[in-house]
Symmetry: C2
Subunit: 465 residues, 2 copies
């Protein structure tokens, strides 16, 4: 550790107290990031309890031009939260208070370090729901969800995290506190500054507090797994579900046959509720306001789609246990491990381009690696597919070659290299495939304006200046 960092750490300890600044073994024993086994490489981990302490930390780091890595629940998939040697990590873990629940206004005011699941549960206790939901719910923190604009399974109905944030507070690189803790859906009073901090992955400021939008708890919950004979019919079924289930439609998760096979064959958690052999399977879910009527309508809609031959077969989740079982199929992504070394992607493109896109990727990968396995699944209604590729070779070179194909086929289609996971370090080399030079230059202009010394999460999203 350099003398300069040592002096800064001493200043941080003096300003914040010893228990707030971890060093040595207290740092190396912490998780370095999702799926990583190496020690945490940060020079120190600062764990502020208040916005003021975050501001003090950043002010001191800014004065010293010290780079800072922002850490939350450490569940990010693009390694934006992985500290590099010489960085000071700032963890929001002790800013974990729920400050207020406004039942009437349907808002919850929280500090950034509250785990997502805690928020979901607290909302539930007062008859409300916080609709953001993703696999990492138990560990991920709301500040990270906001910084990465997390998506998840119910975006089709409730939107991304961006749509669920009414107000927020963030600290800029120099320690300035920007507090825009509004509680209203409508607010056109000057620039909507919160948008800067949502989805910019901690590179423009550190989110410290958030006003979240809650919704009334749904009173009905209907779900089915259906099998479908062609991609055209998948989109026909989507259209029918949107028309006939209306705003209740809360999930429309597509699984290509090879994904379905993998998650319903031993040793997967589930047996196949519908036989193998169809090219597509869709998990369709509706959340409504009246259990009995909605259930009848849901069954009637599926019945009509069967008659119209949009779908081949359907199985309903009639109880909570049955519903959970159906979701378990979709969520059993661990089965991908059976493919050997894999590369996973989170791409976005227009629904109308998906079939040709998947065919092109399959074709080009199959040409180069005849034994390759490719499974595709995702949030069809949101234009978001997850593509998992195993070519029997986990090397960096193989990965680059696969990425050239997976991302290359997006370029001409106006797609995105990241629909929901973000850019971090992992996808930075590919950002230029789907964002123009002018867009990248404008991103750098913003970064320069808000963080002129480049201390906040440097190298994530954008190349360091």
């Amino acid at each position: 550790m350099s003398d300069l960092i040592g002096q800064l750490i001493a200043k941080l300890v003096a300003a914040l107290g010893e228990d707030t600044v971890l060093v040595g073994g207290d740092v190396t024993s912490r998780s370095a990031g999702w799926g990583l086994t190496e020690p945490n490489a940060a020079a120190a981990v600062v764990r502020p309890r208040t916005t003021d302490q975050v501001a003090t930390t950043l002010r001191l780091c800014h004065e010293a031009s010290q780079t800072v890595c922002v850490q939350g629940g450490m569940t990010g998939l693009v390694h934006g939260n992985v500290a590099r040697a010489g960085e000071i990590a700032l963890s929001l873990e002790r800013m974990n208070k729920i400050e207020e629940i406004d039942e009437l206004g349907r808002t919850m005011t929280v500090q950034a370090g509250v785990p997502l699941q805690t928020i979901q549960e607290k909302a539930y206790e007062v008859g409300l729901m916080f609709p953001l939901d993703l696999g990492a719910r138990g560990s991920c923190q709301i500040g990270g969800n906001v910084a990465t604009n997390a998506g998840g399974n119910r975006v089709i109905r409730y939107g991304m995290t961006r749509d669920l944030v009414l107000g927020l507070e963030a600290v800029l690189a120099d320690g300035t506190v920007i507090s825009s803790m509004f509680k209203m859906v409508k607010n056109n009073s000057g620039y909507d500054l919160k948008q800067l901090f949502i989805g910019s992955e901690g590179t423009l400021g550190i989110v410290t507090r958030v006003v979240l939008r809650l919704v009334r708890q749904p009173r009905s919950h209907n779900i089915a797994l259906v099998s479908i004979a062609s991609f055209d019919k998948v989109t026909g079924f989507l259209r029918a579900a949107q028309d006939r289930l209306g705003a209740d439609l809360s999930a429309f998760e597509v699984m290509w046959d090879d994904f379905y096979w993998l998650v319903t064959s031993p040793p997967a958690k589930s047996l196949p509720p519908l036989p193998h052999g169809s090219p597509f399977y869709v998990l369709v879910e509706a959340l409504g306001a009246h259990q009995e009527e909605d259930g009848e309508r849901f069954e009637r809609v599926l019945g009509a789609c069967l008659e119209e031959e949009l779908i081949e077969d359907a199985v309903l989740g009639r109880s909570r246990a049955e519903r959970d079982k159906l979701w378990e199929i979709r969520d059993d992504v661990e089965q991908m491990g059976r493919m050997g070394p894999i590369f996973t992607y989170d791409i976005g493109l227009a629904i109308g381009d998906m079939e040709a896109y998947v065919a092109e990727v399959r074709g080009r990968i199959g040409q180069r690696w005849p034994d390759a396995r490719i499974v595709v699944f995702g949030h069809l209604g949101d234009g978001n597919l997850h593509v998992v590729v195993g070519v029997g070779d986990g090397s960096r070179e193989a990965r680059r070659a696969v990425e050239a194909i997976v991302y290359g086929a997006l370029e001409s289609r106006g797609g995105t290299v990241s629909a929901e996971h973000g850019i971090g370090f992992e996808k930075r080399p590919y950002l230029k495939l789907t964002r123009s030079d002018a867009e990248l230059a404008l991103m750098r202009t913003l970064k320069q304006a808000l963080d002129p010394r480049g201390i906040l999460n440097p190298g994530r999203v954008l190349e360091p200046a």
Copy 2:
């Protein structure tokens, strides 16, 4: 006109053609802005047909440090589009093409000058709906809707304009074209640049093209006017409507008794469908997926609310004509003219603070002007109220005094001086009441970074540098 402007106009004519650059009487005869009778004061009006022409215009103006006023349908209520002497106006009126409708992906790609109503109608023709709706629909242009993040009547269900924009293209002050014409709901590939241009009222860039999000056309439409005995019961009824109508709830428009009286007493367009005398009236609307079932549910929910004494009385709109009649009551804002000279406000605050806020404003205004009339109505579910005040005196001094009360009572409540109309010139003096010094400084940082010469809509939203 100065020589410098004359030279610049000559350059613009040379680059864009004579028919693209209006001067003299062709300028003065144009509308100066909503409700204004004076001539348009712009030195010239440039009417580009393409993004390239917008870019050329801005590049030349930037080189000359020439200020530019952006104009659309000229329906803005805060005079942000009113050209000042010496400004060159840039009107998007000839960029009025609908470029593409993607029925499956439910998107429409349009140029900025397309009127809102045209977009609504084109969507309708293909079985879809563009849900943004406001009184100025026939004249306002989508570029202006985006630049001001327009709201309207159905925000409670479909969100603000911001929520309906998937991608956009904008031209920066120096002529750089930023094209982020994505079509996906989910896209976390770097900073979400479109957010900069939505709601910043043309001060950070000029929106030239937009990818809009469409929704499936609802198949049911139910509406009722109800009378309610107390504000507590208004919020109880909102809660019940959210719970029992679920995601179908598309409007919840509250009218305080004095507003209702004004719009249902001669010479207003409407007779009172429910008798005068209740303290509150609410227009409640649901858009669903099944006409028969939804109608039954809607009536049953109202019936239950009557039994539970949440509402006193209700009248249903059973036909299209009846539904239109009910909306006509809410929309007959011209009746405000009967109050003599009036000042109108568009404020936002938490629902739980509304009753005390209105009481405070009434009390303080009544104390100073015992004969004052105050009517209140608005989009309760979105935290947005419109307050109209008549004190028998339309002078600037009276206005400032009323504003001090109306806006002053927001400050301690974390409210906003503009929920949906924006800031423009009109509300600039009050922006500081609900935005902190740090927030205003950050807004100026953004303005400086994107428009260093301050040529774009100067003086709107922020003080000129």
